[in-house]
Amino acid sequence: MSTPEEITAQRARWMTVAQKAGTPLMSVLLAMIVGSLIVLASGGDPVAAFSSLWEGAFGNAYQTGETIMRSTPLIFTGLAIAYGFRAGLFNIGAEGQLFMGGLAAAWLGIVLAGLPWFVILPVMLVLSAVAGALWAFIPALLKAKVGAHEVITTMMFSFIARYFVSYMLNGPLKAPGPGGTPGTIPISAVLPPQSTLPKFTDLFPWLPPNNAHVGFLVAIGVAVVVWLLLKYTTVGYEARAVGFNPFAAQTGGVSIALTTVWSLCISGSLAALAGASEVMGVHHRLSDQFSAGFGFTGIAVALLAKNHPIAVIPAALLFGGLAAGSGFMQLNANVPDKLVDIVQALVIFFVAAESIITWFIKRRQKEATRNA
C-alpha cells in the first residue's frame, strides 16, 4: 500500500508526463485541423481522408504491419536527429548518412555471405553504423574546427551521398542481368537469406500475413541504448551539457569540439542504421529510390518526441502510420498522398512554435482588457 505522500508524488510525476506530452499532442491535433482545411479547400472530404488514413494505418493486421515496417526506419532517423538536438546540433543531412548505411549493408551482405547469420547480421549493422558515422565525420570536424554550419554541410553531404550511391549502383555494385549478362538497371544484387532481417511472420508462422520485420525490435533496442547513453554515460552527459549551454560546459572542462564530433558521428551512425534496416529487412537490395525521405521525417519524429529517445518510438509509429495510410487514402478518398507531408510539416511548425497557444491566449486577454 502506498502512503498518501507517495500517491501525491506519483500523481505529480504523471502530471509532468501529461504536460510534456500535451504540446506534442496538441501540435498533432492542430496539424490535422489545418490539414483538414487544406483538404476541404481543395474540394476533398476531410472526414473520408482521415478515416481512410486510419484504415490504411491500423485497419487490419496487414496494414498494421505496414505501419510497423514504415516506422522502423523512422525510429532510427528520429533517434539520430534527437541525439543531435540534445547536443545542440541539427543533423538535417540524416538522409545522406542513411544512404551510406544502406550502401554499406548492400555491399557487406554480399561480401560476408559465407558467414553464419548470427555473425553477419551484427557485423552488418555495426559496420553500416560506422559508415554513417564516417559520413557525418567531415561535417562534424568542420563544425568543430571552423564553425561551418552543420545544417548546410550535412545537407550538401546528403546530395553527395545520393550521387555516390547512384554511381555505385551504375558501376561497381550493379547487379548482373539474367544469365550473366551486364545489368541494365541501377540496382544491387539481392542479398542472400543469411544477411537479411527476417519478417515476424518468418519467425512466427501463426501470425497473420504482414511485412513487419525484426528491424523494429532492433530499433526499439537501440532507442533504449541511446536513452541509457544519454542518461548514464560521460559521452551522453557531455553531449547534453554542450547542447544545454556550451560555454558553461566548456568552463566545466568539457571539450566542445570533441563533443561536437562525437555527437554528430553518433547521430550519423543512428541514421545509417535506418538505411541498413531498410536494405536488410524490406528491400533485400539497394536501389537509389529506397528511402521515402525518412531522414527528413525523422526531424518531425524527433521534435514530436521532444528529443526523448523512448518517446521517439510512439512518434515514429504515428508518422509510420501516416505513411502507411497515405496510399490507402489517395486510393479511397481521392486525396493526394502528399497531404501527409503537409501534416508532417505542420507538426514540426506547431511543435517549434509551442508558444503559439500561450501567445493566442495572451492576445485575447489583451483585447479583453482593451475592450473593458
Partner: protein, 334 residues
C-alpha cells in the same frame, strides 16, 4: 572515339555560352542569397530559402497558367503576372517564418525546416489537385530575353562583340534585375539609415531597441523582403528558365544560396559574386559532361561538384567569415 586533347576540350568548353550559363545559373542563387543576407543581417536565420523558392516557383507557374482562364491575359503578360504571384507567395510563406521566429520566438532553424517540408508537400499536393497528375505542371510561356542580337561575322572587333553579346546580352529580364538588386541592396545596407538600422538589429538588438528602433518591425520587414527575393528566384527558375514546375526542382539551391551568403560575407554584392562562382562551377560541370568518354570520370561525380564546392567554401579554405553577432537569437524585450 578519336582521342581528344586537353586543348580541344578547353576550346570547346570555354565559349561565350559558358559564361552566359554561369550568369544564368547564378541568378536564382544570387536572389535567394541576397534575401538571406538581408534576413540574417537583421538577426533572423533563414533556412527556409529553399522552401520559399520552391513554393514561389510553383505559384508563379500556376498563376501564369491560370491567367488566360481567369483574367483573359495570355502570353508573356501572363508570365509577368506569374512573377508577381511568385513574389506574393514568397512573402506569404516568409511571413509564417517571421511570425514563428520573431513573435513566437521559436527555434528559427526548426521553423525554417517546417517551411521547407511544407513547401515540398504543398506543391506536390497542389500539382495533383490542379493538374490531375504527379511530378510536373503544364508549361507556362517563358519570358523571352531582353535583347535580341545577331552574331557578327568573325574577325577583330567582331569577335570581341560576339563575346560580349554572347556573355552579357542574351539574358532574360530578371537576370539584369538581379544585378541591379545586388548593387542597390549593397548601397542601401551601407549608405542609408535603413541599412544602418538593419545591421544594428543583427549585431546588437538591445542597443537598437534602446535608441528607439523597433526590433520586431525591422526584423519582420527583413524576413518579408527575403521572401520577396526568394520569390523572384523561384519565378526566375520556372518562368524564365524551365517553363514548368517539377517536384523539388530547387534541389538544394536554397542551401547553396545560404552558403553563397556566408562566402559573400553577408553582403549583397559579395553574395552575388559567390553565386556567380557556384554558377560557373555548375556551367562548367554541365559542359564537361559532354566529354565523359574522354575524361573517364562517371557523370555522378560531376553532379556532386556544386555540393562539394559549397562544403569547400564553408570549410573556410577561402577565408573565414564572421556572422552577425545576434543571428538566430530571438529578441526578448526587457
Amino acid at each position: 572515339m578519336p582521342s581528344v586533347g586537353v586543348a580541344e576540350i578547353v576550346s570547346t568548353v570555354v565559349q561565350p555560352d559558358l559564361f552566359a550559363a554561369a550568369i544564368r545559373i547564378a541568378t536564382p542563387l544570387a536572389l535567394a542569397a541576397i534575401g538571406g543576407t538581408i534576413c540574417e543581417r537583421s538577426g533572423v536565420v533563414n533556412i527556409a530559402l529553399e522552401g520559399l523558392m520552391l513554393i514561389s516557383a510553383f505559384f508563379g507557374v500556376a498563376a501564369a497558367l491560370a491567367c488566360p482562364v481567369v483574367l483573359g491575359i495570355t502570353g508573356v503578360a501572363a508570365s509577368w503576372i506569374g512573377v508577381l504571384a511568385a513574389i506574393l507567395a514568397g512573402v506569404v510563406m516568409a511571413s509564417l517564418h517571421a511570425f514563428a521566429s520573431i513573435t513566437l520566438k521559436s527555434n528559427q532553424v526548426v521553423s525554417g525546416t517546417a517551411i521547407n517540408i511544407l513547401a515540398l508537400g504543398l506543391t506536390g499536393f497542389l500539382i495533383q489537385v490542379f493538374y490531375q497528375r504527379t511530378g510536373t505542371t503544364d508549361s507556362a510561356v517563358l519570358i523571352p530575353p531582353l535583347f535580341a542580337f545577331d552574331p557578327k561575322p568573325s574577325g577583330g572587333l567582331a569577335t570581341a562583340w560576339n563575346w560580349f553579346s554572347g556573355v552579357a546580352l542574351g539574358h532574360t529580364p530578371l537576370v539584369y534585375i538581379t544585378i541591379v538588386i545586388a548593387i542597390a541592396a549593397q548601397w542601401a545596407l551601407y549608405r542609408t539609415r535603413w541599412g544602418l538600422r538593419l545591421r544594428a538589429l543583427g549585431e546588437h538588438p538591445r542597443a537598437a531597441d534602446t535608441v528607439g528602433i523597433s526590433v520586431v518591425r525591422g526584423r519582420y520587414m527583413a524576413v518579408l523582403m527575403s521572401g520577396a527575393l526568394a520569390g523572384l528566384a523561384g519565378a526566375n527558375l520556372t518562368l524564365e528558365q524551365v517553363g514548368s514546375f517539377s517536384e523539388n526542382m530547387t534541389a538544394g539551391r536554397g542551401f547553396i544560396a545560404l552558403a553563397a551568403n556566408i562566402f559573400g560575407r553577408w553582403t549583397p554584392v559579395g553574395s552575388y559574386l559567390a553565386a556567380l562562382l557556384f554558377g560557373f562551377a555548375e556551367a562548367l560541370e554541365i559542359r564537361l559532361q559532354a566529354f565523359i568518354g574522354v575524361i573517364k570520370i562517371p557523370p555522378q561525380f560531376f553532379l556532386m561538384l556544386p555540393y562539394i564546392l559549397t562544403v569547400v567554401v564553408l570549410a573556410g579554405f577561402m577565408g573565414r567569415a564572421v556572422a552577425p553577432a545576434a543571428v538566430g537569437k530571438p529578441y526578448e524585450k526587457e
